[in-house]
């Protein structure tokens, strides 16, 4: 009994072509935090390098470490990051859920700016 696998080869070829087409090798290789729904926007694809800030509806994380939303805690977190990076490195990139209120962003950005992080990159889901 011989097995005809020509059909399977056809299907695999089509599947492979589709997956190769959608394979994304962009400069941004970030894994969004689970549960975060990024806002959609048309923006540039540029490389990201800097302090990563994740904002969910319940938590703020600076480089993966949860930080309470108080000025002291945020200042402390950014001070630590400042100590680890050269003075010329002023970038932060923010992955925030789209429903986060601006008051949270204000508190975060105020602490960031106070500690020398004034270049903000907002990571968004690319809208075609």
């Amino acid at each position: 009994m011989s097995l005809n696998i020509t059909s399977m080869a056809d299907i695999f070829t089509i599947l492979l072509v589709f997956l190769l087409k959608s394979f994304n090798m962009g400069a941004i290789n970030i894994e969004p935090t689970p549960g975060v729904s990024l806002p959609a926007a048309k923006a540039e694809q540029i490389s990201v390098d800097g302090v990563r800030i994740d904002i969910t509806m319940t938590d703020i994380m600076v480089e993966g470490v949860k930080v309470p939303l108080t000025p002291d805690a945020l200042n402390q977190a950014f001070r630590e990051q400042r100590g680890r990076r050269p003075a010329s490195d002023a970038k932060i990139y923010i992955l925030s859920d789209e429903k986060v209120p601006y008051s949270t962003m204000k508190a975060l950005l105020a602490s960031a700016a106070t500690n020398g992080f004034s270049e903000v990159n907002l990571v968004v889901a690319e809208r075609e």
Partner: protein, 150 residues
């Protein structure tokens, strides 16, 4: 396992072994399924303006333009400089009135070619996605944007 194809009358028959091809395809497809991301990410750049004023960009603009996102999709913008203008744009069909805002900003840019930076603020309850939407729209006209209202 093999497939065979015959040649045209009198040609040579050969058997094509598809097993190695299927092996390669299986591995490739598994790898691509695991590693493909169907969402591509990109970045909107902005600066930070402290104390609700326009940021001091390296090329400090002579005028300060602040756009505030208000409640119910209203846009309030103010131009402070040699001319002082304050205007409120009400919601258009329940959405931000970008058309009017961008028209006004373009007109300002024509009058003042040195107008390159703008500050965006919002009331505390404004959702982040609305800020991103306004930022994206304004960036088409004004390349340097700072977030303010602290």
């Amino acid at each position: 396992m093999s497939a065979s194809s015959g040649g045209d009358g009198g040609g040579l028959d050969f058997e094509l072994n598809l097993a190695p091809i299927i092996d390669c395809f299986t591995v490739l497809i598994t790898f691509l399924l695991v590693s493909t991301s169907f969402i591509s990410l990109s970045v909107l750049e902005a600066g930070v303006a402290m104390e609700g004023t326009a940021a001091e960009m390296p090329s400090t603009p002579p005028l300060s333009v602040i756009v505030q996102l208000g409640d119910a999709h209203t846009l309030n913008y103010s131009i402070n400089g040699p001319e002082t203008v304050a205007k409120q744009l009400d919601a258009k069909e329940g959405r931000w009135d970008f058309e009017s805002l961008l028209t006004d900003l373009r007109q300002l840019k024509e009058r003042r070619p040195d107008f390159k930076a703008i500050t965006i603020t919002a009331v505390n309850s404004t959702e982040y996605k609305e800020v991103v939407t306004v930022l994206e729209a304004v960036k088409a006209v004004v390349p340097e944007i700072t977030l303010g209202g602290f």
